[in-house]
């Protein structure tokens, strides 16, 4: 696990440095919009999605130079989605990672525009990448747009599920779209830049899908078992709003059993890939252990 902790740290440092350079280069005007974007981007995120881009990319032998813009792009999309999801009309969250959310700090109008801008900047991160062939660029932008569409659909489904009984298959559809699509894109981006073949791409996509599911289930479990203080956000809020969660539908014990089953599935997909996937395997365990 030490290798993974080191990998995450190394990845986080590079991603944040390049993100800072990228935002600096974008020369965002007016100042309040630049501040709102900076506030949202540099608030101590885990940078999990960029790390996944880099981990998969490195497994397929791609250089950091060719991977970093995709890593930056997915963090920009993820951050835009958090800014918009936190808005009063959506999840109405005042705190994220222990500090004020963008709309509390800068007002709703600026938060809407900052989210819009973060989404646009993700396209620019990829198209402005001079190290990638045009054909790869087009595929990455196209797949990122599809993944983002699915993320938006998932958020809409999630909002509609509030206060209602949610069936098990609806819950899965919500998360496959809301969090799964972007995690799948991250892994596929690394593989595409690394020149993965068709079978490898298929296996890495399935691996990423199970990873996304593990992420969501542990997230839901943490929401039930941890306090607001420890998480730095309004915890148990999902339950209060009767939102669809795994423990809410399946119970805590069954949710934990699901983690064990899906973990095995994730690792089986890695077995299909003849590349150095140790870090990718460690990521699976890292996520599963978050909640224990």
């Amino acid at each position: 696990m030490n290798d993974l902790v080191e990998f995450f740290e190394r990845s986080r440092v590079v991603v944040e440095r390049v993100l800072e350079e990228f935002i600096e280069m974008a020369a965002i005007e007016p100042a309040v919009l630049r501040e709102a974007v900076g506030w949202s981007l540099f608030g101590g995120g885990k940078r999990f999605r960029p790390a996944l881009v880099l981990a998969v990319g490195e497994a397929f032998g791609a250089s950091m130079n060719r991977l970093i813009n995709s890593a930056v792009a997915v963090e920009l999309i993820h951050t835009y989605s958090l800014v918009h999801d936190d808005l009063p009309a959506m999840d109405d969250d005042d705190l994220r990672r222990g500090r004020e959310t963008c709309h509390v700090k800068f007002g709703e109008a600026t938060a809407i525009l900052a989210g819009d801008l973060l989404q646009v900047l993700a396209s620019r991160a990829i198209t402005d990448d001079r190290d990638l062939p045009d054909s790869v660029c087009v595929q990455l932008v196209s797949e990122l747009a599809t993944a983002t569409s699915r993320m938006i659909a998932g958020q809409q489904m999630d909002l509609q599920s509030e206060g209602r009984q949610t069936a098990s298959h609806d819950l899965e559809a919500i998360h496959k779209n809301k969090t799964g699509a972007l995690i799948c894109w991250s892994a596929r981006a690394g593989a595409l830049v690394g020149g993965a073949n068709r079978d490898e791409l298929r296996a890495i996509t399935k691996y990423a899908a199970t990873l996304g599911l593990l992420f969501q289930i542990t997230d839901d479990i943490l929401d039930v078992t941890q306090t607001a203080d420890k998480l730095g956000k309004t915890a148990a809020k999902d339950i209060a709003a009767a939102k669809a969660t795994y423990p809410g539908i399946h119970g805590l014990d069954r949710s934990r059993a699901m983690l064990v089953e899906i973990r095995a599935e994730a690792l089986s997909y890695l077995d299909e890939i003849e590349r150095p996937t140790e870090i990718l395997a460690e990521m699976v365990d890292f996520i599963v252990r978050r909640e224990s």
Copy 2:
């Protein structure tokens, strides 16, 4: 002027047909999000920006097949911006083109997500275009992202100008970004797809910039001189909110004199291009005459 009216009508019919096919193909879920996107897109817009893509593209000899996806993309971005600008936290408009705005009809959360989705779909419209070389695709997405960033910056500047005295150069900065950037992209997209050379691209960009300015000045004049009933939106609202407008800063007479000067400038840029630009010249007069 009959040629232009015919051109606009022909262009509108094609753009709306392809927009409908594109939205159908996108298979948006859940249903309410699909309805909100459809409501916003098919509410009787003038389709001016798509018409500009097609008019410039045809002047440069590009086929409709190669132009139509850029035309669709810019209408998607324009529509997303209207949906978000109408939100209560932004311009707080209840009516657009004589009917309820997206958030009044579908609620704020759905309107935010529908706007987000429209923005994403614009990228897909371009990257999914199988008729364009990858290099042109990358340039179009990159320039569209830059234009959209500027549009967002312009909206932020506009919001900040409310209730304040706005200097003449600030007003110009607001509109160059808020409406000008996307109009310039439309013209450049047509020229790029049509294989314009460097000088032609420069001239067409300047032409489009003056066109955008004319559009904004006539828009501001119409807001002052027409009634809510005729415009189908809460007219004179900009003045009530003390927003920066051309008549507000320069007075009505000077604003009208500016139209004459800028019209001549627009036509002079077309003189630099040895292509059949008759329709482009007629567009200038069409805009100027909107207010008389």
